[in-house]
């Protein structure tokens, strides 16, 4: 899952489902006259001369294996600190949801810090603090002004060194996570769709279970399991620290050396061995839910992060989904007036990716009709080459994402943290631009034919139960 691979237009709605961000309360509602900053990009000429801040990034590797990425930029008032841990739900063995539950426990106190105090200390200095868990990574984030950075680092090191997991706090926090699960998944059509879709697309690989875990596992996960998980994965040679913005590298590295530098390296980091078997036929599932607007979700197996076809799949995603001139919006929402939204996109993960399709039917419209229209658009991409103008437009739109990624310290820290955690290095802007430019009309048709085959897809319909179903099955629970 790669923000530059997606672009805000495509997955704004999905991001919150794919990641489990652990943020605070409901927003203050207020009215502003301002609009989103959706900057844009151009052809190679204006952007190829653009300075990539990452050229100034410094990488420091500690003896215990910890990698620290520092990118100073004093033109901004903010410094973003991110701790990327290479552990996600794919690493769970007995209890699904443990990586995410554990992320919550990281806020529940350590030897020297009582529960909740960590977040409160950062808040009390005006900082923003958050964390999220995905299938591949667990990330702890703080955006602060520069004078607070040493505190952020010391607090982060304190919980990594001295986390205290008690039965009492675990029992209380699992209730919080179960509420999160009800909110994101159980009572939400898109949540139901995504959960069913991943379990259908992956039959064996750990990507099949939801990041938040199955309810029964979250209910039963033990203190011992949390501790074992912590000991196995929260080790310096499984971590990347990324810092970008207004700070001084020298003293910051000293604080990190004094804190994180003392952590012992692990000799071995366990990983699940399972490889997903090749899919040999279409899979379909139906989820009944009390809803007005039925949901279509589909997925095809696609390459893992870093595959050479990644850029062509991104172009394909952009042509299908980015902007109101995109094919899916035009056909399903505008011309045929059958859907309220429709998007298709490439979602890459460390071990394998998926190409997904999501659409919401208008109330009263059959989900079969929406699926048929969606798949017709996929088949058209396989049958007919796209126009050169459409390719140029998509490339322009993709470069938007790259420029946006330079706008804030947070986005910069995310980029370097994610890229080093994924690829072991940061891909320079020029390299990204060049590989986008290299995609041809033929590439797009080829990846559509290679990956989006009918007998490789999994399809989920979330629809209202037929009359009588609820009574028979006790859907009211």
């Amino acid at each position: 899952m790669h923000e530059t691979r997606f672009g805000a237009l495509i997955v704004a709605s999905l991001m919150s489902l794919l990641l489990l961000a652990d943020s605070g309360g409901a927003d203050d509602s207020s009215v502003t006259g301002a609009d989103d900053v959706n900057a844009s990009a151009g052809l190679l000429s204006p952007l190829s001369s653009l300075e990539d801040p990452v050229d100034r990034m410094l990488e420091t590797q500690f003896e215990n294996g910890l990698r620290v990425l520092t990118l100073e930029d004093h033109a901004t008032p903010v410094v973003s600190f991110q701790l990327w841990v290479r552990v996600g739900s794919r690493d769970e063995s007995r209890y699904t949801g443990l990586a995410h539950l554990f992320e919550h426990m990281m806020f529940k106190g350590s030897d020297n810090i009582p529960p909740e105090k960590h977040a409160q200390l950062i808040n009390a200095r005006g900082g923003r603090i958050n964390a999220f868990t995905s299938r591949d990574f667990t990330v702890y984030l703080a955006d602060v002004t520069s004078e607070t950075l040493p505190l952020v680092i010391e607090l982060e090191a304190e919980r990594v060194a001295n986390l205290d997991i008690s039965q009492e706090t675990l029992d209380s926090e699992r209730q919080v996570v179960l509420e999160e699960r009800r909110m994101r998944t159980e009572d939400r059509p898109m949540g139901r769709a995504l959960e069913a879709l991943m379990a259908l697309t992956y039959t064996a690989h750990p990507y099949r279970w939801p990041v938040i875990g199955w309810r029964s596992d979250v209910e039963k996960a033990t203190v011992e399991a949390c501790r074992e998980f912590f000991d196995a994965y929260y080790v310096p040679n499984n971590m990347v620290i990324a810092i970008a913005g207004d700070f001084e590298t020298g003293p910051t590295l000293d604080v990190i050396r004094r804190t994180f530098g003392k952590l012992p390296r692990a000799t071995r980091i366990p990983r699940n061995p399972t490889v997903e078997p090749v899919q040999t036929g279409e899979r379909r599932a139906i989820v009944h839910f009390d809803l007005r607007a039925p949901v279509l979700a589909a997925a095809w197996p696609a390459p893992a992060s870093g595959h050479v076809d990644g850029e062509a799949l991104d172009v394909l995603s952009t042509i299908l989904s980015a902007g109101r001139s995109s094919r899916l919006y035009r056909r399903l929402v505008y011309d045929e007036e059958q859907a309220l939204d429709a998007e298709g996109g490439f979602w890459e993960m460390l071990e394998s990716g998926v190409f997904y399709a999501f659409a919401t039917a208008r109330p009263g419209v059959s989900i079969d009709r929406v699926e048929r229209l969606f798949m017709e658009e996929i088949e058209r991409l396989q049958r007919e080459p796209i126009g050169q103008d459409e390719l140029d437009k998509a490339k322009r739109q993709m470069e938007v994402g790259l420029v946006n990624g330079l706008a804030t310290s947070h986005a910069l820290a995310s980029r370097i943290g994610r890229e080093v955690s994924t690829f072991g290095r940061v891909r320079p802007l020029a390299e990204r631009l060049a590989s986008i430019q290299a995609v041809t009309v033929e590439d797009v048709q080829r990846v559509a034919r290679t990956y989006l085959q009918k007998d490789k897809r999994s399809v989920v319909h979330v629809i209202a139960a037929p009359p009588g179903f609820a009574e028979q099955n006790g859907a009211g629970r």
Partner: protein, 470 residues
């Protein structure tokens, strides 16, 4: 450069020596307030037709955000035409100048740009963002949408059908249902009692003619603000804006809409929106709040930060999530509009725990009055708001957005510069007064979205209960 390195080394030695005292036991180091905008980068001007210009130069990246905001929105629409401003905004997105709906979208997408047209309670905005080298093309799009929207009849029919479908779909989201029913229970008969996008019976009556007439009455340059942030310079931008928007003719300014009743509700009432399938109940409590321009806004905001606006530092979060494990999130806040919008506490919990959550929430509201923010709590709230403000200064588009917001409400143009000072000058007496004046736990509307059968028995002696369909 060498000087900085030496200082850095000295600081790091100090840090190394001082490691016996962890940072969390030391008092927060002094903060330094950065200026809101850099010297010489912010400009104001006015065109002959009365259009105000706000321009914030920022040459760090080759991109620009620009747009026009008018000072009228859904707030001037009547109760029985609810949704007209939102409908008009969407219709403006569907064809302008020589471009039909698809051609306009293609013109935007080919630049890799974005175009958003929005209606809020008190403003409507047309915004474009793209590469600064495409400035002329972006201005052309902006000018076409502002001056020559097509307001096509066929597009109006499509927009109406899509809006009606969206309104129906929105009922699948418990949070949206809760907000809608709270608004209705508080403000029925007033415009604030219906969602911004309207309700089916009003949207069904909207058409191209009504949108055209609303557009004409609201899009007048003498009540509008042009804004630009990013890689532009004022000297070359000014004549271009003159070309793009100089021909926009002055017009009469629509009076603001009527204010809602001062106290809503008169007495506590409970509304259950029956969704028998849900495993979690949405809970939202509210009564009247304060207007955007209320002089007590800062003090109210600080009080609310301690109550429920301050994330993990807020009392409600501490009580409901950290101590009781009853929810994943709880928050409180003010709908800041021209007239007082709602003050709202919002959360969710498993169905059978609703009563406990309600009791604890009501207790916290009462406690805020009897035991208002302490010096420590206020200090934390001040730091949180000042810090959020400082972090918000990172992008020029965000700063300019805040400056435009001040203009929309005709607040003093230096409000951002004085903001941190006003936060620091607020005392515990101020926040105690806010808690006394602004919180009314005895007369709240409580909306619950979930299975009525399981919710109703939990509500004994809390107040009169009404059960409604979504």
């Amino acid at each position: 450069m060498r000087g900085r390195l030496v200082i850095a080394a000295a600081v790091s030695m100090l840090l190394a020596l001082g490691c016996a005292t962890p940072a969390w036991e030391q008092p927060p180091p002094p903060t330094q307030d950065r200026p809101v905008v850099q010297e010489g980068m912010f400009h104001r001007a006015e065109l002959d037709n009365g259009l105000e210009l706000l321009v914030l130069e920022d040459h760090r990246l080759p991109r620009v955000t620009l747009g026009v905001t008018v000072r009228r929105g859904e707030g001037v629409v009547s109760f029985d035409q609810a949704g007209l401003a939102v409908f008009t905004a969407e219709l403006m997105r569907r064809g302008a100048g020589d471009w039909n709906a698809l051609e306009l979208s293609r013109a935007v997408d080919e630049l890799g740009a974005s175009l958003s047209i929005r209606a809020g309670w008190d403003s409507m905005s047309v915004g474009v963002a793209g590469l600064s080298r495409d400035l002329d093309a972006l201005l052309e799009i902006l000018s076409a949408v502002i001056l020559q929207p097509q307001m096509d009849r066929r597009e109006a029919d499509r927009t109406r059908a899509e809006t009606l479908a969206q309104l129906e779909k929105a009922k699948d989201d418990p949070g949206t249902l809760a907000r809608w029913h709270l608004a209705r229970a508080l403000y029925d008969g007033h415009r604030y009692g219906r969602p911004q996008a309207g309700v089916p019976e009003t949207v069904e009556t909207l058409d191209a003619k009504k949108a055209r007439s609303f557009y004409r009455s609201v899009f007048v340059p003498n009540d509008a603000i042009f804004y630009a942030a990013g890689d532009v310079d004022m000297a070359s931008l000014l004549p271009r804006v003159g070309v793009a928007l100089g021909a926009w003719e002055r017009g009469e300014v629509l009076p603001p809409g009527p204010a809602p009743p001062e106290q809503v509700p008169a007495a506590r009432k409970i509304v259950i929106v029956d969704r028998p399938d849900l495993v979690q109940a949405r809970i939202i409590l509210g009564h009247e709040g304060i207007a955007r321009a209320n002089p007590d806004r800062i003090a109210a905001s600080l009080m609310n930060t301690t109550l429920g606006g301050g994330g993990f530092s807020a009392r409600l979060m501490e009580t409901l999530r950290a101590e009781a494990g009853l929810t994943y999130a709880v928050g409180s806040g003010y709908g800041l509009r021209r007239h007082p919008g709602p003050f709202v506490v919002s959360t969710f919990t498993r169905v059978h725990e609703v009563r406990r959550v309600l009791d604890l929430t009501l207790e916290e509201l009462e406690r805020m009055q009897q035991d208002p923010p302490s010096e420590d709590e206020l200090a934390a709230a001040r730091a949180l708001l000042v810090g959020r403000f400082s972090l918000g200064l990172e992008t020029s588009a965000a700063v300019l957005g805040a400056l435009v917001n001040l203009e929309v409400y005709r607040l003093p143009p230096d409000s951002l510069d004085t903001y941190r000072g006003r936060i620091r000058a607020t005392t515990t007496e101020d926040t105690a007064r806010m808690a006394r004046q602004l919180l009314h736990p005895d007369r709240l509307v409580i909306v619950l979205v979930g299975p009525a059968e399981a919710l109703r028995p939990q509500l004994e002696q809390l107040g009169p209960v009404e059960v409604v369909e979504p």
